[in-house]
Subunit: 346 residues, 2 copies
């Protein structure tokens, strides 16, 4: 690794190297280390209006799996031989733009590399707030947080006191969903893949935490909330979605945020057997993508920053050190290696 | 059959007989004649505020299949040994209520019998409008029409010029859906189960009528509307729903009105294999029941009555004569015996 210092005066760094992780081949099924390659690249001098950023933290997220396949989606696929992309937070180390000065904290989608550079507008300026660590902008105050907030409030139209079912509840999005629902006086039932994660969820205030790997999922959820659920926040798909349809109360909303149980399937699995209940129960099943709610960023931060600053919102991080281990961190997402947000410290 | 006359003065009829069809046993799979029994019952004298109606037309509708099974639903199941229920239109032959006088045209849910009686408020007063036949209040201006209108406008939020996919397009609801969409300048692709029905649909102005029994459904629909669909009105479920998800454009709405392909299944069939597309395409799949839109009746009639009166809305009826054949008419719904509304003339 090249040691990068952030204190050189503006203009002194004419050329620089970045270490990056590239897509070597497209995964078939679960991603493997061989799908990734590490490389070093020379960076050109900055152009007018550009900035250079030393990434300090990068995010690995389940949705990236979709971009590794070459199929049409809401974001274009990654290109073989090119650096991967994803959320990152870092410090400006060279700037040709006054709005993002040297030393400023910024976020971008130019993760998977030690040094990122480009037009200033590709980087969002972040506040440096005492008590809020930088990496929070990749978690509770970043894309996962906005995903949780937008899914609950904008798509799911959550109402105080409802019964909310959350799958993948110990994940980066799920754990924020659970807490935002609790802050609205809801009864929350969440699932996770280990007893330890369930214990952690109970500590967050989740009313019923269920290890979905033990016993009959529908029976467990039904026992926890016998009157049924008003809102389902789906991170998992598959059996969880079928259970949610089955236990949904009339006019329930099913918010489709992700279906991680399906991402590595090469052959698509059959859908829920109880689709007909959608009619009789007047269910609304609605998918969403966080990018569609970029214009709600201010409203989201106003609510959730206050919860963070005042200690009402907790999260856990699973931190992997070093860019070279970013592929392992990513692969780990699909076998439950993380509690809370999976992060790579660069 | 007892001949009933409608001209006796009020109060003269103390007791009367009704012929009715009762549920003899619950169907297993497709309904059969043995599930029905015909009977004659003595009617008590009218109480205060009650009226007696000679039913002239009754409706058979797919949703009635659900009430024949003993499972929880949005309407309670039919009771074995009791008369079935369903939409009917008739004339008041005795009245203890001034608002529904002798000779008035009324509709009720007391079909499957030649004479209905009960509290006046169980019967809706209908206008006698030149050019609008009485049985239209069981079709385009009745429950099927309100279903089509509410599904398109209230649930599906149809917009002028969209591409609309309709399954069961030659049915009582589907054919109204197609025409209301055409009246909004939409491109309409509809499916039906025979070439004759498709020909009829083309005569209604449907842009692409597809016989779903011949060839690959998805390929046919895709060829007809290669840019995809904005709104799907589902009467059928099963493969049709999977095709709709597959060909949906981003932010498409899928209106779940019914899933007739599934009603007679004793073992539930697996759902769509492409549920994951709900997330990436931000689809909204929403079920509804016409009863929830009773408060929109006036708005619906204002729009659709005008279309009927001015000849812009056409429908076809399949008429079966005589109460004794009502079970056959109902059974026929599940093998495509009807084009347009299936009716029984009493």
């Amino acid at each position: 690794m090249v040691a990068l210092t952030g204190n050189r005066p503006k203009g002194e760094i004419a050329a620089m190297q970045t270490h990056e992780i590239r897509l070597a081949s497209r995964p078939v099924g679960a991603p493997e280390p061989a799908n990734f390659a590490s490389a070093t690249a020379e960076l050109p001098a900055l152009g007018a209006g550009e900035i250079r950023v030393r990434n300090q933290w990068m995010s690995v997220d389940p949705y990236m799996r979709g971009r590794m396949s070459d199929r049409p989606s809401y974001v274009p696929p990654f290109v073989i031989g090119e650096a991967l992309q994803g959320g990152a937070v870092g410090e400006v180390i060279e700037s040709h733009d006054e709005s993002r000065p040297l030393g400023a904290l910024v976020s971008s989608m130019l993760g998977w590399r030690t040094v990122a550079q480009g037009p200033a507008k590709a980087f969002d300026l972040l506040p440096r707030t005492p008590g809020i660590p930088e990496q929070a902008y990749l978690g509770a105050l970043g894309m996962p947080g906005l995903t949780a907030w937008a899914g609950l409030t904008q798509v799911g139209q959550i109402r105080d006191g409802e019964t909310v079912f959350v799958s993948g509840a110990a994940g980066a999005v799920g754990s924020i969903v659970c807490q935002l629902a609790k802050l609205r006086g809801c009864t929350v039932v969440g699932t996770a893949g280990s007893d330890a994660k369930c214990e952690w969820l109970r500590g967050l205030g989740v009313d019923h935490a269920i290890n979905y790997k033990t016993g009959d999922l529908e029976a467990h959820v039904k026992a926890a909330v016998p009157k049924g659920i008003d809102l389902y926040f789906d991170n998992v798909g598959g059996e969880h979605l079928e259970v949610a349809i089955s236990l949904a109360r009339p006019f329930a909303r099913l918010v489709e945020c992700g279906m991680i149980s399906q991402y590595n399937n090469e052959r698509v699995a059959p859908g829920p057997k109880n689709m007909m209940m959608i009619v009789g129960k007047r269910l609304r099943i609605q998918g969403f993508i966080v990018f569609d709610f970029a214009d709600k960023q201010r409203e989201f931060l106003a609510e959730v920053s206050a919860h963070v600053a005042e200690g009402r919102l907790k999260w856990e991080e699973t931190v992997v050190d070093g860019l070279a281990h970013a592929p392992d961190a990513f692969i780990g997402l699909f076998c439950g290696a993380n509690t809370g947000k999976m992060l790579v410290r660069l």
